[in-house]
Symmetry: C2
Subunit: 309 residues, 2 copies
């Protein structure tokens, strides 16, 4: 996911989203001392392309990332469903998708188009731009589409461990946050929540006290330079605060398919995603995790903290 606001946040490298932390804090509730540094390394955008799936599966298989999430409306969904069924322990959530951001490779909604007209651009695809999507989308139609995405995943045999939001469209206004939160509650799933400091409290009105809220979320954003990729990531790990954080990465192989998917868009493009893959699978990154006493956790573990249905 990526919006301008997220990019700004990410430039700060690590941002506290949850200043009023729970007591006992999340680390304690997971069985660790209060000051443990716990990290979900999370691969976004599974199913968007074969190159994304292959790189993400490889990183999951190696334990280089601890979690990932799936874009249900995208073309390679059944490839991911096959992986999910073959790897029932893999920590796979749904990357709820209300945008279709690439230039010549587009997708539409999962719900019938006539039931979600406010989600559609003039050509019948999801909006390319997150801001434009947010301006047009009626929250009740977003909820219909989000529900259809969850149901489609379940029908294909995917058992999601969590929900989050592609390009942060579900973090943009109270009614959209409520869509994410309400659907997550209904399916008894934990969810990523961007609690941005200074945001009016009505933004989070749908949350329940029992919801699991991460302490920090961080993602590399422009203008990090290609040759500073590894050092940027190791710096993130060095600065990681105690608590439960998520580091969002985008993993793909920089090949002909991925170059075509991300054509004319170097930010979060094909080479970018290859750099992310190279870093998270590198011995240097692994060493930085060890040296900074960071333990990887999963959304499945966080889900166990929710009240039983």
């Amino acid at each position: 996911m990526y919006t301008r606001s997220l990019a700004v946040i990410s430039l700060l490298m690590i941002s506290s989203f949850n200043a009023g932390a729970q007591s006992p804090n999340l680390a304690q509730r997971l069985g660790y001392p209060a000051d443990t540094k716990l990290l979900i390394i999370h691969a976004d955008d599974l199913a968007v392309a074969h190159a994304q799936d292959m790189a993400s599966f490889e990183a999951l298989n190696r334990g280089a990332v601890s979690s990932a999430s799936i874009m249900v409306p995208c073309p390679w969904l059944t490839e991911v469903a096959d992986y999910a069924k073959a790897h029932p322990d893999a920590d796979l959530g749904l990357h709820l998708t209300l945008t279709s951001e690439w230039k010549t490779y587009r997708w539409g909604p999962v719900a019938p188009r006539e039931q979600v007209p406010s989600l559609l651009d003039p050509q019948g695809y999801l909006y390319a731009d997150a801001g434009e999507a947010t301006r047009h989308i009626k929250p009740e139609e977003a909820e219909r589409e989000v529900r259809a995405q969850v149901e489609t995943a379940l029908k294909l045999g995917i058992r999601p461990t969590h929900l989050d939001s592609h390009m942060a469209t579900l973090f943009t206004k109270p009614a959209m946050v409520a869509v994410l939160v309400n659907v997550a509650h209904e399916y008894h799933l934990p969810f990523l929540m961007m609690k941005i400091p200074g945001t009016p409290p009505e933004m989070y009105a749908a949350l329940k006290p029992t919801d699991v809220i991460l302490d920090h979320v961080v993602m590399v954003a422009p203008p990090v330079k290609a040759d500073e990729w590894l050092s940027h990531y190791t710096q993130i790990l060095k600065n990681l605060s105690p608590g439960v954080s998520e580091l969002i990465v985008h993993l793909a192989y920089d090949d002909a398919e991925m170059q075509a998917v991300t054509v004319d868009h170097p930010d979060y493009g094909s080479a970018w995603r290859q750099r992310d893959f190279n870093v998270v699978t590198s011995p240097e990154f692994r060493r930085a995790l060890e040296e900074n006493h960071i333990r990887l956790v999963t959304w499945r573990e966080l889900g166990k903290l929710l009240p039983k249905p």
Copy 2:
């Protein structure tokens, strides 16, 4: 397109589908002597994958193929629409698609799912198998989907020159043939018609005397061996009869994406499509066209023979 019946036909290398040829014949109607050998070299399956698009565009740009057709429900449709708009003279038709045949890469219909339930397998995709599709599909729902595919293409700025049928599902029974023919008539487009010798005449009841019917259709099918690819094709050209024929090819680059699309299916798979590309773009194939006095023609030229709307 490919079904068992087509494979059998293709083993004969060249098959006459239109024994009772029109007089004046098609060659004459196009302004050539009656015994001219005219050939549409036709690339199928555009939009199925980026590797298919790139190889097919390259062959179109070089004049190695004279025509191609597009699978509207497939993920790379907008890439093909961009090409079509940038190359208004390219001879691009619609490869009407009622099946989704690959193992881990599936697509659904363009029409709303609840309007075409008989087209859907239990997971909500188009049927993988052409025979199963034919058994389940209600012709009125096929027509709804076919119309939706034409309208989607038009909306994206594609101006199709012709219609044909992916995996031959619209050539399988009278009511399905009628779908293809009726929609083609409505949009004033020529269409590929497989007139298989010995077929009962009711199969072709929807045809009008003014319809343009090719004299021959040929396609390479299993079990041609990889090292005999070029010689098989040059043999086809050597044996080509006078009249208007279509040679159907499937062009793609044998890369990671295409290998994944066609996984576990060497027939018409990734390497198969690379061999087709290599042959049609080879100097040997070009020379065989010249030596056998074969002229390439397009569906656009055939469309000009239809009565004016």
